[in-house]
């Protein structure tokens, strides 16, 4: 016991080189001697009684940098509390490489006011070390709290943060300033429940931003642009603007756009895109005007003005398919009322790299299943096709697997297609229609 406190004092005296002390004692002696050191036999003192069987304090043997790393996974209050554990731990909380400004108790609704006093102290008393990750999460806030939260975000950026997470669980959006986010270090940005404006969403001032996730955000801008972004997720966001948001991310690798409320954003060309998952729900404002009357616009001449591109507005251009037709893996699940994909398909895009495709019943609407036919014919290297019909999943009651043999008949669709799956809940006439359509392409089915 006495020896272990001796080592603790050693550590606190030279806390930055604590590890080197241990390493010195270890390396300058044989392994057997090193073991004895830990058995409670101090090098200079002589003990009369046999040393106590001290179970070694393994965690304090870890170097400071590693303990800082461990503490950065704790909520900030919990990490500050470790200062009462032992002498070695008195100042560790001040140099953690991450901050989690979240509550301690997950069940209680957290107010910014509760956090403020603690965070004020924390930010002053901490060492000014660089921060790797900052997470700010709370539920309720009021008008006076907003400047504090913005200051915390600015503080994080000043500490060269690489991953910034801001989650607001309140019923109103926390509006971030219409100022650019400037950071040469920020790589990952995760926002939830935040109101964003034009200047913020121009990420030219964040040259290494790679991951952007916006959930439940209010996007009041006409453009989201970043030349470095690799992964983009826009989940359950909305826009009050009338114009469509342009998403300009030429280096994007993966995209997820789902449950967008408002006019569907326009996706500009993404040459490096690997996978895209687009789900247009009922909140989408781009709906076919004829839908409710049950008339499918696709092939008809008296199509509604939404479904047929007109000369005057920019509806002649692609909204979604222009950006994502380069992808290798697509999951396209539009709601039945929407017209965007059908309209885009009229311009006959080609999916030159598409390997796996997941579609829903939207593509199977219409007398001749035009959308599905169009996409199949324009995917020359398609390998796997999955149709999820009237069933959201993840489990489906009926799963059918089909195989395609290109030997018989013309290669109307991809020669590489080796797997076709149809997943649904009941096999009714709509499903049969789809199956019939597919068999016309020489796809044979069996039940799983």
């Amino acid at each position: 016991m006495a020896y272990s406190s001796f080592t603790q004092r050693q550590f606190s005296r030279s806390s930055t080189s604590g590890s080197t002390i241990i390493e010195q004692t270890m390396s300058s002696s044989s392994p057997g001697h090193a073991r004895r050191l830990f058995d409670g036999m101090p090098p200079k003192k002589k003990r009369k009684s046999p040393p106590p069987v001290s179970v070694a304090d393994r965690i304090s043997a870890l170097p400071d940098s590693l303990l800082h790393h461990v503490l950065s996974f704790l909520p900030a209050q919990a990490s500050v509390r470790t200062c009462v554990l032992a002498r070695r731990w008195r100042h560790l909380w001040r140099s953690t490489t991450g901050l989690r400004i979240v509550g301690l108790d997950d069940e209680v609704e957290l107010d910014v006011e509760d956090l403020r006093k603690f965070v004020d102290h924390l930010l002053i008393l901490r060492e000014r070390t660089d921060l790797d990750s900052v997470e700010i999460k709370f539920d309720e806030f009021c008008e006076e709290d907003q400047p504090y939260v913005k200051t915390w975000v600015r503080f994080a950026l000043m500490c060269k943060v690489r991953t910034l997470t801001l989650h607001v669980g309140a019923s109103e959006y926390l509006d971030l300033d219409d100022l650019p986010l400037v950071s040469r270090h920020l790589r990952t940005l995760d926002l939830d429940g935040v109101g964003l404006q034009a200047t913020f969403l121009d990420f030219g001032t964040c040259p290494v931003l790679q991951d952007l996730k916006m959930s439940h955000c209010n996007i009041n801008a006409c453009r989201i642009s970043s030349h470095s972004l690799k992964h983009l997720t826009i989940y359950c966001c909305n826009s009050d603007f009338d114009c469509r948001i342009h998403v300009s991310t030429p280096c994007l690798f993966s995209l997820e756009l789902s449950h967008f409320s408002g006019r569907t954003p326009i996706l500009e060309n993404m040459a490096l895109l690997e996978s895209a998952h687009v789900y247009l729900s009922d909140y989408c404002q781009d709906v076919c005007l004829n839908y409710d009357s049950g008339v499918f616009c696709g092939a008809n001449n008296n199509a509604c003005k939404n479904c047929v591109p007109t000369e005057d507005d920019c509806s002649r251009e692609y909204v979604l398919l222009g950006g994502i037709s380069n992808a290798k893996h697509l999951k396209l699940l539009p709601g039945s009322k929407t017209f965007i994909f059908a309209r885009d398909l009229k311009q006959c895009p080609t999916f030159t790299k598409l390997k796996t495709l997941l579609l829903n019943e939207y593509w199977c609407e219409g007398p001749d299943l035009d959308p599905l036919a169009c996409i199949l014919k324009n995917s020359p290297v398609l390998e796997k096709l999955t149709l999820q019909l009237f069933s959201k999943g993840p489990t489906h009651k009926v799963e059918m697997k089909g195989t395609y043999s290109s030997v018989e008949g013309p290669a109307a669709i991809s020669e590489h297609l080796h797997m076709v799956e149809v997943k649904c809940n009941v096999v009714d006439e709509k499903i049969l229609k789809v199956l019939k359509f597919l068999t016309a392409f020489n796809i044979r089915f069996g039940f799983v």
Binding site: M1, M26, I59, P63, L66, H69, F73, T82, V84, L125
Partner: protein, 344 residues
């Protein structure tokens, strides 16, 4: 052919193996693709060419003990297979860190020295999960930490960080704020006290004028009387002070009813306040009364007090009366100083 080349060309070995040596001297061989998953080992193989034979084994850092090494190699063996789904990997990771805390600490240390970042993160998170939500005693218990902080240090751990100028400034500001609040509170208290006394002193004034008529002694021997009062007020037992305070309210009412208000109170209160801010300025100065004079004054005061006590039985005690009188007569708020003194 050298022995190292021979050891590689074994008929049954279809894979290449890498030799690793722990600090304690034990040597282990492991499949190359598994070992390559570790950045530090990978670098050794590629840059220095070590590890291809038993006598050229890669020397691992001393923080990697054999037990941790075998765990790390299990981890690498699982994760280097490309075809696994995220779910599988996550489930493996969860099971992987379900080991006792000592082994977990050693594993974290070993992974850190081998720069295997995903494993460092996994084990660090596991350690953080152990720490989270526990009391300091529980944490000390689990990790066998020595309880080497003094009780004071535990209660106010942040107070002792005095070397940081920012913290010193913060502490100064807090101390200043606390002082201000205390002063304001005291002012409020005294003010409340004072107001009661003021009312009663007005009544006293009238009574005095009407009843006693000993104004000669009043005005002339102003300073003397003041001193007298102060001294005499000190003499009666301290117990008087308590009931005096309580009795204020009771006494104030009949006086007011009987006599009516004189609007001197506001002026007096302001005086009171000023004096309270600078207590003890004049101090308990001795005016240098000679003993004979002192005795005479004592007698007069006793007389007056007796009379008061008989006429107004609710009115309490000598000390209180004298204090009021001195204020009334002295007019320079010696009473306040007294009460201020008592309050402190």
């Amino acid at each position: 052919m050298s022995e190292s080349e021979l050891s590689v060309i074994k008929p049954e070995a279809l894979k290449t193996y890498i030799w690793l040596q722990c600090f304690d001297g034990s040597i282990q061989q492991v499949e190359e693709e598994v070992a390559m998953f570790c950045p530090m080992i990978c670098r050794e193989i590629v840059k220095n060419g070590t590890g291809s034979a038993k006598n050229h084994a890669i020397a691992l850092p001393e923080r990697v003990n054999p037990a941790s090494l075998s765990l790390i190699l299990d981890y690498c063996r699982f994760h280097q297979v490309p075809g696994r789904s995220n779910k599988e990997r996550k489930s493996f990771d969860e099971k992987f860190v379900r080991i006792d805390t000592e082994k977990l600490c050693e594993l974290t240390s070993a992974a850190d020295s081998l720069q295997l970042k995903p494993l460092v993160d996994l084990t660090s998170r596991a350690l953080a999960r152990i720490i989270e939500g526990k009391t300091p005693e529980e944490i000390r218990d689990i990790f066998h930490l020595p309880d080497d902080l003094t009780e004071e240090e535990k209660l106010e751990p942040l107070k002792n960080i005095n070397d940081d100028p920012r913290i010193r400034l913060l502490n100064r500001l807090y101390a200043k704020k606390r002082k201000e609040l205390q002063e304001r509170q005291k002012l409020k208290d005294i003010q409340v006290q004072q107001e009661h006394k003021d009312e009663r002193s007005l009544d006293e004034l009238l009574c005095f004028i009407n009843g006693d008529g000993g104004s000669g002694g009043g005005k002339g021997g102003k300073s003397k009387k003041k001193n007298k009062r102060r001294k005499d007020a000190k003499n009666p037992p301290k117990a008087d002070l308590e009931p005096v305070n309580k009795g204020e309210a009771a006494c104030a009412v009949p006086c007011n009813v009987g006599i009516g208000n004189i609007p001197r109170a506001p002026c007096q209160t302001s005086d009171v306040q000023d004096d309270n801010e600078y207590p003890f300025e004049d101090g308990d100065l001795d005016d240098g009364l000679d003993p004979a004079m002192q005795e005479e004054l004592d007698r007069e005061v006793e007389d007056f007090a007796r009379r008061l006590n008989s006429v107004w039985p609710e009115r309490m005690h000598l000390g209180q009366e004298r204090r009021i009188e001195s204020q009334l007569i002295g007019g320079n708020n010696s009473l306040q100083r007294f009460s201020g003194f008592n309050h402190r």
